[in-house]
Symmetry: C2
Subunit: 210 residues, 2 copies
């Protein structure tokens, strides 16, 4: 026998297998949340047997934990990139673009996050109150500074950030609804192009100082 779990899989084959499983787990967890997902579903999605999954991951929890961790890293990155030295409007515009691209390219991660929050963020509450809060505090200060200097219209920086999160993630989390309302006519690429243009207009026009 070999180690049944562990943070760093030895061989590349093992790492790949773990990825296949994670992929399946993401598919299931993002739809049904932790409690609503079953190992059988994940196994079926991954095309292998249930005990085989437990050979690579010690438990359902462990899979979920790894998914959440990977997702949080991705999730925080776009905001970190926001640069205090840059042009305020351009920086915010670029941030929105990055966030929207994330919603387009990683919708399941977004839904996984959404699910976690809906359940009261049991696994990441510390992260939210710690790392995330610190990051947002910092960027809110940057934005507040831009506003003070008259380079941005004044509004609450925190709620501005919330608005950006909300509008961009909406296209991942509420995809079914967006598609239902827009009807078949809207291909994903076109949809996101229009969304991008709309959000840019919305935030830029609101924040621009004439």
């Amino acid at each position: 026998m070999k180690k049944t779990n562990s943070k760093t899989p030895t061989t590349r084959i093992q790492r790949q297998k773990r990825l296949v499983i994670l992929e399946a787990a993401l598919e299931v967890f993002s739809k049904h949340g932790f409690r609503g997902s079953t190992l059988d579903q994940i196994a079926s999605e991954a095309g292998i047997s249930k005990p085989n999954i437990l050979y690579y991951y010690a438990s359902k929890q462990e899979m979920h934990k790894e998914l959440i961790e990977r997702m949080m890293d991705k999730w925080l990155a776009p905001l970190e990139e926001m640069n205090a030295k840059g042009d305020p409007i351009a920086e915010i515009s670029a941030y929105i673009k990055r966030k929207l691209e994330m919603a387009r390219d990683y919708p399941r991660q977004s839904r996984l996050f959404n699910n976690e929050i809906l359940q009261g963020a049991p696994h990441i509450i510390d992260l939210l109150e710690g790392e995330l809060k610190i990051l947002v505090d910092e960027k809110a200060k940057v934005i507040a500074n831009w506003m003070k200097k008259g380079r941005l219209t004044k509004t609450d920086p925190y709620h501005l950030i919330f608005s950006i999160w909300a509008t961009t993630q909406h296209y991942a989390d509420f995809d079914v609804q967006v598609c239902a309302v827009l009807g078949e006519k809207s291909a994903i690429n076109h949809r996101f192009k229009v969304a991008q243009k709309h959000l840019d207009l919305l935030f830029v026009r609101a924040l621009e100082v004439e």
Copy 2:
């Protein structure tokens, strides 16, 4: 014995009991989604035994169905009120206010909806593609008309509506995150007052034609 279910409970006591159960079910379903919720949880939340719940509701499904139906009615109302004859900016501003008040006053219903959408809207997809789409088509046309007349800045009316949905519901669905980031300092009343002001500024400034 008596009827175990039925759309219209006979006595007032029965109607009240069903309400108590629905209330508990809402609490649980909104957090864990349909699959992740158990009758035991709901029973415990309601303070009665599991079989007693099934005396009033024939099944878990039936409870969920009634909750979803009640919620959808509430959910559609604010948009219906948007009036083509009114002043565009005032109408949109009022719509945002109504939606935000719903997020404040009925956060669990919002989360129930969020959960349903995350799971692919299995129970309401018809409603979304039917009733909701028709309503949004109609209101999008109204907004498009305002824009054509130069009374609102031009942008995609559908995505504008999505942005309003996203930003307002965010305060219900992502409450945990909002609170974590804002810290303890922010009481709910104050939080929503600031949110209201921010969203009003965001949308009004973006849409106003100078």
